[in-house]
Amino acid sequence: MPTVASLAAALQARQISSAELTRQLLGRIEAAQPRLNAFISVTADEAVRAAEAADRRLAAGEAGPLLGVPIAHKDIFCTAGVRTTCASKMLADFVAPYDATVVARLKAAGAVMVGKTNMDEFAMGSSSENSHFGPVANPWNVKRVPGGSSGGSASAVAARLVPAATGTDTGGSIRQPAALCGVTGLKPTYGRVSRYGMIAFASSLDQAGVIATTAEDVALMLQVMAGFDERDSTSVELPVPDYAAALGRPLAGMKIGVLTEFFDSGLDPAIEQTLRAAIDELRRLGATISDVSLPNLPLSVPTYYVVAPAECSSNLARFDGVRYGYRCQNPRDLKDLYERSRGEGFGAEVKRRIMTGTYVLSAGYYDAYYLKAQRVRQLIADDFARAFASVDLLVGPTTPTVAFAHGAGDSDPVTMYLNDIYTIGANLAGLPAISVPCGFAHELPAGMQFLGPHFAEERLLNVAHRYQQATDWHRRAPAGVAS
């Protein structure tokens, strides 16, 4: 299986050049695109130029864990000179004048961007069907969704079109697609990775992260992405540990709590079975397992659907048809310009969330909805803090079901929202969490999720890596994909 680590080693040993590797992957992307639609933009020319530059750095004796390694960016990260659409008609022609910090750091490390991945519009969705550029397919079964909102990144990594891709996670948008596509996805602690140049959805929840096939690769990517950025006011000024160094630590003595609220009646019994076996494996690896209850956690979905839409309605007010983005034809006056540019430029789900947010923030409802939700959010965060006083990590399923069919959530958005029931808690409390493949249910991948205290990414990557050393679920590739 070509990983970031193995490709970097092959590049370093000059067994393959970055230009050759990049052309090879561009060919695979082109061949897969009609089937998967994982990309919104494929940047072939820029990629080959960047690969050639990486080859020159390698020839000059430079070394680096990402130097010359092809990757993809979720199309929510601004890329100078390459359009950034956020999968919206609103930004279909938007070309950012600058790179997001995440993009700039990966570029400086010599990673080669091959394209921008498809997603739910403005990261609002759990299926990658809400895209102006068409739905994304799951490489395990193209009739199924890849999850969302970072579905293009997860689909591309699962189909081995790139060894790693960036994503963003506001309510599970990295972990849920990683689980449904059988790959590894990390949502870091709030503030760990800069959000500068990452198009905002819900600013108290949004965080950038990584989707890759292994925890080791996630560590290599995070090492470059993480760190203080003065241009993001929520960026945290803390040193970045050596993530790769933590991977091999033994799990003996590690206390892992099984989140009882995640084994509810909504969990597919076939997924529960894979989880129970995976937890047995953790026990064999030396971890101490106990049950932990977080009584307020089931309220995370209703809490989220106040906080996230409220912040979304505020953040998306900037799209006014004046400074950038879509503008309607022949506006009668300024009000008509605003209303039709937004009404025509945004898709149905984005409009629903803007209106829900506008409603919960409107006069007379603010206390009942927004303040109430922020109080419940504090209760949920307190539950986590209490749990982490007695265990090092929490474990549970990432999703209640395996990948569902395209169109399954069309009739009722609430049914779709409830599919994020196990992932939203980490966002509300600002915690890091990782999803790793832990088996199959109904011939589709299932994900195991670990949640840790703030800034415990090392511990999450350590347990994920040790689990992957003992199992091979993460090595499985969809039929027809060269693993």
């Binding site: 006014d320 400074r323 409107s362």
Partner: protein, 111 residues
């Protein structure tokens, strides 16, 4: 997809239906034009969302302070109030639907 009814018995609740008039008022506040066909569809789906949100009533929050930052003890960092270099205006205005002489053009506001 799974039926979450045992966890969230939403169907047993009296759904607070948002009327067409309310949806139109919300759309106006949000500066969104909606077609006539969209209004009842949003009324239905947003009523369902508000029924889900109504589950928050289950939580006892007396004496609980609303969360102000996801990281305990943190608040948004402020920087010194000094001008810093930004992208040049010409570059930023390349994305404007209509700009001229360094200005953004909009329909006439004052007759």
């Amino acid at each position: 997809m799974y039926d979450f009814a045992p966890i969230f018995p939403l169907r047993e609740r009296t759904v607070p239906t948002l009327t067409a008039t309310e949806i139109a008022a919300i759309a106006h506040l949000a500066r969104l034009s909606l077609s006539e066909a969209e209004v009842p569809a949003y009324g239905d789906s947003m009523s369902r969302i508000m029924a889900l949100v109504g589950e928050l009533d289950r939580a006892v929050t007396t004496g609980v302070e609303p969360m102000s930052h996801p990281l305990p003890g943190q608040s948004a960092r402020l920087r010194a109030d000094v001008a810093v270099a930004a992208e040049p205006r010409e570059l930023l205005q390349r994305n404007a639907p209509r700009a001229e002489a360094g200005l953004y053009l909009v329909p006439r506001v004052i007759e």
